[in-house]
Symmetry: C2
Subunit: 144 residues, 2 copies
């Protein structure tokens, strides 16, 4: 219960109601809903009876991301080159992983592959670069 407060303090952030609530929402998100948009967090707050402004949700999530508490992703909505893409946030639970998004259901599956990770490092190196970060998203469709 006081767990969240610790995390916040560690991040150098004052323990306030919006921050604690948002952290709880992210922590309690079911496996199927680990990737929330700012709007979804906002709605969850209202459903929980808390009156937090959308601006605050964005501010808090951005701070959390800067503190490494959460990760921000930018999944593109549809293929078809519709530049529409909103951010989704997910609690950073230690190890890194990539994502697979179903183009039909919107479902998100996480995965981690050592082979790919290593190849990426090698490829960057071959070009004289050091790999700092990467973003890999597979757009998939359920098999029939």
């Amino acid at each position: 219960m006081a767990e969240e407060n610790q995390e916040l303090r560690r991040a150098g952030l004052k323990v306030t109601l919006p921050r604690v609530k948002i952290l709880q929402i992210l922590e309690s998100a079911g496996v199927e809903q680990q990737h929330l948009s700012a709007e979804e967090v906002y709605d969850a707050l209202r459903d929980a009876g808390e009156n937090v402004g959308l601006a605050t949700v964005y501010r808090v999530l951005t701070q959390f991301a800067a503190a490494g508490l959460v990760t921000r992703h930018n999944f593109e909505a549809g293929r078809d080159g519709s530049g529409t893409s909103h951010s989704v946030f997910e609690l950073a639970r230690g190890e890194h992983h990539d994502h697979m998004v179903c183009m039909e259901s919107g479902e998100v599956v996480e995965f981690h592959d050592a082979v790919i990770e290593e190849r990426q490092r090698q490829i960057a190196e071959e070009q004289g670069y050091e790999l700092v970060d990467h973003s890999l998203v597979l757009y998939v469709r359920k098999k029939s």
Copy 2:
């Protein structure tokens, strides 16, 4: 010279000055500048003395993307979770490739790796999905 007109007709688009000009700009982009934002294309047009509206640039690029003539990417600006990301367009020259973006210089290097491509397919399959598309961007830093 009439090459562009053929490509446009093939795509089912009327041959108009804005479309031809934009196609030329993309084709003549140097190796270091193959990835242009709508704004950059717009500026290039003005520099070439053509008065094309930015809205038209967007419309044309979107049509080109839909026709498969160009590919639209969404490189994120800075890491640090600043959701800032604008689209860049690149001429689709046949084979698929991924990108490596230098976080300092903004330079973009293209690459293709059969191992990664294959692993992606396998990973999707293992989860009962069919791989439709993917987006892979490596964020790198020049080695010292």
